[in-house]
Amino acid sequence: MKIICRCEDITEEEIVQKINEGYHTMDDLKRILRVTMGLCQGKGCRKHIAKILSRELNIPIKDIVQPTYRPPVKPIPVSATADKE
């Protein structure tokens, strides 16, 4: 059992299973498994997931479309944005 997304605790087996069920894009996997949506915002797992997709579906890694990056790029503390009254 190999953990691929540490933030959301998702294993390679789970990802491969979903690919076999027909979830064939990074966006599909993100929405069904929460991968890339954790604290690191996918920095730790995006590349690995793209590799797995490329291997399982036999498509070149450059053709794997990455989901949208949402700001903030780094997590920001609520208090850093909140004015102290």
Partner: protein, 376 residues
């Protein structure tokens, strides 16, 4: 033939997918066409709140029936949808708000909702660490809830595929009408799909779709931003709603504990733009930390925006139109997720049986739009 079906649905959000699901249950073969991927519209951008606290008998009834459908969804769709009844709490920071809530509670209780006005000590017990400054109490319904829109749409779509098809990346550009009757729709890649029934479930884009058959409907998009924090231990269970002009609403996601929330900007931001503003991140942080100071220590990890699909009176549109076979199910006014299951069921019943199972004239296409849903 994959290109022919009993009905075509335009839009793969909660409304299109719920309508498709119930039509499929009624024996229809449905072809659902989505411009991008399922949940690409407002549904994938919403914060997943489900409540029954509305202000008119019809909206309350629809919300209550919808809640029942969320409750049995796990068994129906044979998958977990992260449905959790943690409640909704509407805070009253003024005597006027308190009176409004008390009046609504009367109507809501009469219709059978378990809702009451609770005092400060109860609120402090339910939301540990809340700042009681200026707070007079709140309208609390413990059976209000939350669920995961991605898993629900996924479950509905699987069921639609048992008879029909779900086609992602199919952008509808034309609806073909012959003798005042819809016959087919054409997509940007020049495919044509045939069906005697075409349902406009395009959410914020419902008006553009209706224009393809020369019908003008009053659905206008408005931008709403939202954010989510890192996961943390769950310490409050309900959606906390602060309706002051500089208020906000948020809950802790089930089961992971991230805080997800948004606020309604004043003035509102009309249009299709889905950008994000630094002002929102700063304001949302300030407003949350003002209510629950300990949230000031958490981190926002994502921030995005989506569209509310507003009608002038705050009620949805669910109706046939002057073009035979062309239906409109939209204008959910920012409540499409919570109302979706019941709206989808109502639409499927109306379409297959020729009449709605109960009186929904308040959702008619040709109505006087001057009324108001107070619990917007």
């Amino acid at each position: 033939m994959n290109n022919t079906s009993d009905a075509i649905i335009i839009g793969g959000g909660i409304i299109g997918c719920a309508t498709g699901y119930y039509l499929t249950k009624k024996g229809f073969k449905v072809n659902l066409l989505e411009r991008a991927y399922l949940t690409a519209g407002s549904t994938g951008r919403c914060i997943g709140g489900i409540r029954q606290q509305f202000s008119t008998p019809l909206s309350i009834k629809v919300a209550m029936e919808s809640m029942k459908k969320f409750g049995t969804m796990r068994d129906e769709l044979k998958q977990d949808v992260e449905f959790h009844q943690g409640g909704y709490l509407f805070l009253a920071h003024s005597e006027e708000k308190k009176q409004t809530y008390m009046k609504l509670i009367e109507i809501q209780r009469e219709m059978g909702i378990d809702v009451s006005f609770i005092g400060l000590s109860e609120i402090e017990r339910l939301v540990p660490g809340i700042d009681p400054t200026g707070l007079l109490g709140g309208a609390y319904c413990p059976t209000d809830a939350q669920a995961n829109p991605f898993l629900i749409v996924d479950g509905y779509a699987k069921a639609i595929k048992e008879r029909g098809n779900v086609f992602p990346y199919k952008d509808v550009t034309q609806i073909n009408v012959q003798k005042e009757k819809v016959v087919s729709v054409t997509t940007r890649d020049n495919e044509t799909y045939f069906a005697p029934v075409v349902i406009n479930a395009a959410g914020p884009f419902a008006r553009d779709i209706a224009q393809m058959v020369d019908i003008d409907i009053q659905v206008y998009p408005e931008r709403h931003e939202a954010m989510i924090t890192e996961q943390m231990e769950r310490f409050f269970d309900m959606m906390v709603v602060d309706y002051r002009p500089d208020g906000c609403y948020f809950n802790q996601k089930w089961p992971h504990g991230s805080v997800i929330g948004c606020y309604t900007p004043i003035p509102n931001v009309p249009g299709y733009d889905l950008g994000t503003s630094f002002e929102f991140a700063r304001e949302m942080g300030r407003r949350m930390a003002r209510l629950i100071p300990r949230l000031g220590n958490t981190k926002i990890i994502r921030h995005w925006s989506g569209s509310y699909e507003m009608t002038p009176d705050g009620n949805p549109i669910l109706d046939k139109s002057d073009v035979d076979g062309f239906w409109i199910v939209g204008g959910m006014c920012g409540h499409g997720f919570m109302l979706g299951p019941e709206i989808g069921w109502l639409a499927a019943e109306y379409i297959t049986e020729g009449k709605a199972p109960y009186d929904i004239t308040e959702f008619a296409l040709h109505r006087d739009f001057t009324g108001k849903e107070v619990m917007k």
